[in-house]
C-alpha cells in the first residue's frame, strides 16, 4: 500500500520554524491566518515556536470580547497551543511594557524575553515566518 503522504519529506528532518506575531488580533487577518498556519505546521513534528512582538502581544490578552465587531475570537486557541505541542511561546518584554501589560494579563504561560534574546532565537531558526 502506498504511503498517504508519498510526497512529503523525510520524517527525520526537523526544522526550527518560528512564527512571529506582530499585529493586533483584529484589524487585519494576519494574526488569525497566522494561527491557522501554526496549527497546521504543528501536525508536522517540527520544532515550532511563536514570538509575540509589538501589537502581536495583544493576541494573548485575557478578557477579549469580539461580539461587537462580529468576528470570531481566538485568544483561547493561542492559550491551547500546548495541546498541539507548540510550547515555545516567547513574548517581547518591552512590547508588553509599552502597552501597560504584564504576564498576568496573558491567557497562557509564556517566556518573557528581551528583544535581543528574541533576536538571537531568530538567528537560530531555519525558517522565520512573520504574520
Amino acid at each position: 500500500m502506498e504511503e498517504i503522504e508519498s510526497e512529503s519529506c523525510d520524517d527525520e528532518i526537523v526544522k526550527k520554524i518560528m512564527h512571529v506575531m506582530r499585529a493586533a488580533p483584529h484589524g487585519t487577518i494576519y494574526t488569525y491566518e497566522g494561527l491557522e498556519m501554526i496549527l497546521i505546521m504543528a501536525a508536522y513534528d517540527q520544532d515550532i515556536s511563536v514570538a509575540f512582538i509589538d501589537d502581536g502581544v495583544y493576541a494573548l490578552k485575557k478578557g477579549q470580547n469580539t461580539e461587537g465587531i462580529e468576528m470570531k475570537g481566538f485568544a483561547k486557541t493561542f492559550g491551547a497551543l500546548d495541546g498541539y505541542d507548540v510550547e515555545k511561546l516567547y513574548v517581547d518584554q518591552i512590547s508588553l511594557e509599552e502597552r501597560g501589560l504584564t504576564e498576568d494579563d496573558l491567557v497562557v504561560d509564556v517566556e518573557i524575553l528581551s528583544s535581543a534574546e528574541i533576536g538571537k532565537l531568530m538567528t537560530e531558526q531555519d525558517v522565520v515566518v512573520h504574520h
Binding site: 512529503s8 526544522k15 491566518e33 498556519m37 497546521i40 508536522y44 517540527q46 515566518v129
Partner: protein, 119 residues
C-alpha cells in the same frame, strides 16, 4: 540553493508581489532553484487569471504563469485563504494549484530557504 517563496499580499495594492517576482527572476538567473511560490493571506489574489490591468501596466497573474511555464516553479494558493476570497479552480491561473498549508510546511522543510514577502 533551493528556495521557497511565501507571498502574503495581493497584487497591485502592495509591492510585495512585484518584489517576490523580481526576486524569483534574479535568483533563477543566478542559478538557484525556486521550488514554489505559495500564496497566503490576500496573496491568493495573485492566482486569479481574471485580473485585467490597463495595457500599459504589468500583468501580475501572467508573470506568475510565465514563471511556472518557463521555469517549472509551482504556483500554489492556500485553500482556506482562497475560499475566503473567492479564488477557486474556475478562476485560477494556468499552472496554478489550490492546496493546503501542509504543502507549505513541506516546502519549508525541503528547501534551503523559505523567503516571505509581505507586511
Amino acid at each position: 540553493m533551493n528556495i521557497g517563496i511565501l507571498l502574503k499580499e495581493g497584487p497591485y495594492n502592495h509591492q510585495a508581489a512585484d518584489t517576490a517576482y523580481k526576486f524569483a527572476e534574479a535568483a533563477i538567473k543566478k542559478g538557484h532553484t525556486i521550488d514554489a511560490v505559495f500564496f497566503y493571506n490576500d496573496g491568493v489574489i495573485n492566482a486569479t487569471r481574471l485580473m485585467d490591468p490597463p495595457q500599459d501596466d504589468r500583468h501580475i497573474a501572467s508573470r506568475w504563469a510565465h514563471l511556472c511555464q518557463e521555469h517549472g516553479v509551482q504556483m500554489l494558493a492556500c485553500i482556506a485563504a482562497a475560499k475566503r476570497r473567492g479564488i477557486n479552480d474556475d478562476v485560477l491561473i494556468d499552472c496554478g494549484t489550490i492546496t493546503g498549508l501542509g504543502n507549505l510546511t513541506d516546502i519549508a522543510i525541503r528547501n534551503d530557504r523559505l523567503i516571505t514577502f509581505g507586511d
